[in-house]
Symmetry: C2
Subunit: 267 residues, 2 copies
DNA sequence: TAGTGGTCTAGACCACAGC
DNA sequence: CTGTGGTCTAGACCACTAA
């Protein structure tokens, strides 16, 4: 009477055996690669049942104890797999109640955005860039608001080329409060973005992606028609709460696209 | 019952009275919030050292054994934290050699893309939609290539409104091989996207995001000028390798933006 | 109150890559 | 070979919460 039967999955066989190391016991996945660790195998089995629709949203999963018994392993091993599934958002765990398949709330898409130089190189094209303008000045009110409380900023405009064609226009503000070395840095060989990554390797990032029409200046810079659609990527970077840089990248819309893929649970 | 001896505290701790629960021993973080689990505390400590630049890329981290000693905990607890850091890409672990801070290769941005109805609701606007066209036919060669091997498809065009203003135009193909129920589904009350999510809750998704110019038809549908920039989101959905749907969403560029945030290690 | 997940232990063995 | 991380155990206690 412990488990009211709604859509509860019964334990998977193998109860009396005990079997010290059955390895792939009742995992249902017969032709496993035999190379994976046990908790990874359990994770894959559970995920497969969820993704295939065998366990639709709301289904209660077996208890850790029962899964552990069915695999002939300890509860810790099962817990490792289920904790990972919960972190990926596939399941929801509640004390006393049990574990349930969640309804997907949204698609969490993982977009990889690399350095522009690498981005161009990935297309198999030669990359170069030129500094259009460089200026040190006080931050305007609007800038200070977005960049944080930076008093002085380095403002840089930069054009990136792929195979000698304009590829991207970069407008960047760097907080000199946070990165004073930027004031004297040489951006001839290393682009500001690459320089910053090497200087402040880890950071938190916030993105905004929009489609905009090229104004007259942008059109001239990218050699496209005025009013042509462009992909605008706005990005603010902070590190440990300190604002580092705000950059706006403008790509000709016809050429550039952001691609991304998503697996329900990271594979 | 399987715990015949519950009052017999055999193993865990309190053997010789030697430091049963030292908790924050030498962890350097004296005034901890005392609310987090120990492995989470360790994870935060290590991540903070990496993100702050105290441990720049290439730095070798202490061995698990040493960290465990310094926190007065077992190696498993440290391992849990470091495994998570490795999964997040902040560190690299090599047997025998040790653990090292990685150089970030790229920014992995997590973009949450929700159902259009919810998306509009999040803006605090009323949402409604209308089916513009609905047709069942054989897939063209180009469609079959992108949708997989679907023989028959349901082609739907749909307009979404926010506060009675056109918000998004949706062109969708649904593979009737994979989702035959779609043929007779009623999309008056539930939009095709929402219906599919409830029908096939978990899936793999592939995205392409571009900026495009509105052609004459699109301009009329969204009540914008021909040639105006639009954000185009192309998305292919599969489940367990089976193609489900391909959809192209077109948003007026001036209004819509995709926002995303990124934390180096998921926090 | 009872039962679930959350966490942690003090070992253990293994695989693998430096030395 | 040696030492590191990778994995696993057979328990244990705790926190929370549904009943």
């Amino acid at each position: 009477m412990q488990h009211p039967e709604k859509s509860r999955i019964e334990k998977t066989g193998r109860k009396g055996g005990a079997a010290v190391r059955p390895r792939s016991a009742a995992g249902a996945n017969a032709g496993a690669s035999a190379k994976k660790s046990l908790h990874q195998q359990i994770l894959d089995d559970l995920r497969s049942r969820i993704l295939s629709g065998e366990w639709p949203p709301g289904t209660q999963l077996p208890f850790e104890q029962d899964i552990a018994r069915s695999y002939g392993c300890s509860r810790m091993t099962v817990n490792k797999a289920m904790t990972q599934l919960a972190g990926a958002g596939l399941i929801e765990r509640r004390r006393k109640a049990g574990t349930f398949v969640r309804r997907p709330q949204s698609h969490s898409v993982i977009v990889e955005i690399v350095d522009i130089g690498r981005e161009v190189a990935a297309l198999g094209l030669p990359h170069h860039f030129e500094i259009v303008s460089r200026e040190i000045r006080g931050a305007t009110a609007a800038e200070a608001e977005r960049l944080g409380a930076a008093a002085r900023v380095l403002s840089i405009q930069c054009r990136h080329f792929a195979a000698r064609q304009p590829f991207c226009f970069e407008e960047r503000l760097i907080s000199l409060d946070s990165v004073p070395e930027a004031e004297t840095a040489d951006f001839e060989a290393t682009s500001p973005g690459a320089w910053l990554v090497s200087r402040v390797p880890w950071s938190d990032v916030e993105y905004r992606i929009r489609a905009v029409a090229a104004d007259r200046e942008t059109a001239g810079r990218l050699l496209i028609a005025e009013g042509a659609p462009c992909l605008s990527i706005w990005r603010r970077t902070t590190s440990e709460g300190q604002p580092i840089t705000v950059v706006c990248l403008t790509y000709p819309g016809s050429d550039h696209e952001i691609s991304a893929s998503f697996s329900s649970a990271e594979g």
